[in-house]
């Protein structure tokens, strides 16, 4: 848990001049971000700004980006194995098999990550004690989300990439998750998340993708022609 001097100087995750496009439309460009251990970053922006696209690129699911993503100083496609062992991605889709029970689902994730925490303890921590043998199709949306969140307890990854982790979670769950994120940050990890909620974490940094919209930039150089025809209609 103690960071050596070298690691502190080197950002755990670094984005250099990153741009993503989707369906031949540039979502954002020129995104630079340095994440040192302990950082918590909330990616903001209106719907369709490219938050999920960015997180999928960061997680390594999509390689459809321009620019560089560096993990501990190494560029990502090359360091993908090291990064895969040290990152955890929770997407919109929970990645939970409905036919299986929460315990059976987590068994698979545990084998993938090689964590030492017991599954019962992880389910306990997300308030699903007593549900470990209930098939997931009988659980509510919030409970299903909690099964996915139990992976955070089973993981030893330093980089957490969470896409809308607070969806469908009750108030108590939200504060528990915030505490968990704070703990991860205190342990020297990095958390990147998207959420439309206002979080109360003191170390939180907010990056608004809206500021990296290509149209905003052309706006400054040209005279606002393109933003009228293009951007606002999409993002409004």
């Amino acid at each position: 848990m103690t960071d050596s001097g070298i690691e502190q100087a080197l950002p755990l995750l670094e984005l250099r001049d990153l741009s993503c496009e989707r369906d031949e439309r540039l979502l954002f460009s020129g995104l630079d971000l340095r994440l040192l251990s302990g950082d918590v970053v909330q990616i903001g922006g209106p719907n369709g700004a490219g938050k999920t696209t960015l997180l999928r690129a960061l997680a390594g699911i999509s390689t459809d980006y321009l620019g560089q993503i560096l993990y501990a100083g190494q560029e990502l496609p090359a360091a993908v194995w090291e990064f895969a062992g040290d990152s955890l991605y929770l997407g919109h889709l929970p990645g939970i098999k409905k036919a299986l029970t929460p315990a059976e689902n987590l068994e698979w994730y545990k084998a993938q990550s090689g964590a030492a925490v017991s599954i019962d303890a992880a389910l306990n921590a997300v308030g699903l004690y007593g549900y470990e043998d209930t098939p997931c199709y009988q659980l509510s949306a919030g409970q299903l989300r909690r099964v996915a969140l139990a992976r955070l307890h089973l993981s030893r990854a330093r980089v957490w990439i969470l896409d809308e982790p607070f969806t469908a979670i009750d108030k108590l769950g939200v504060s528990q998750l915030e505490a968990l994120i704070a703990k991860q940050s205190a342990n020297g990890g990095v958390v990147i998340l998207t959420s439309h909620q206002d979080l109360t974490l003191p170390q939180l940094r907010i990056v608004n993708l809206h500021d990296y919209r290509p149209n905003v930039r052309t706006n400054q150089t040209k005279n606002g022609f393109e933003s009228l025809t293009d951007g606002d209609a999409y993002h409004g």
Partner: protein
Amino acid sequence: MVDKVPSANLWGGFAASFRRDLLVAARHKAELTNPLVFFLIAVTLIPLGVSPEKSVLALLAPGIVWVMALLATLLSLDGLFRSDYDDGSLEQMLISPQSLYFTVMAKVLVHWLVSGLPVTLLAPLLGLMLSLPVNGYFPLLVSLALGTASMSLIGAVGAALTVSLRKGGLLLSLIVMPLYIPVLIFGASAVQTAVQGGEIGMQLAVLGAFLALAIVLAPIATVGALRISTNG
């Protein structure tokens, strides 16, 4: 927190994926029996539609059983990665610290255990219904065991390519069918030759070679196809 190397071993990842898929398959019994029921019904209809004459059926039996086994496999392919794609497990597989090659292997192995193997075991019974001559049964079993395994592996490539398409069924058949044809030719030929009293070593050797090649190459192609399919 300091060690960054994925510590879970290869075998553990393979076994976990294998166990999970087998469990999922066991909980979806209807999907499990679909290809089998199709196989059973299609073969039973042949005597009614073609001719109940023993000599005619015996002549057609090797080909019919093989074609129907092929179609039954094809029918079961679409679901191979579909549910993983829909519930987000596929994304997690792609970025997991485990080699995707072995995860795909585990999935294909389960697919064969729940579709190819039952079809193979049911085949002699259907051979009996089609009055397949006695010396055709053993070659039928062996050739189908080898052939359905190759077909599961090859089919996984097509299933991976079409997983992100909502209506990929027809495309999947078009992609996979040409690759199934050699397997069908040698498989049916093995049974036919055995019925006529010939040596079938060559056909079985070719089927074995197909399988060996498919085991090595098909998962690599499947992994590539899965990355393309989710990269959007």
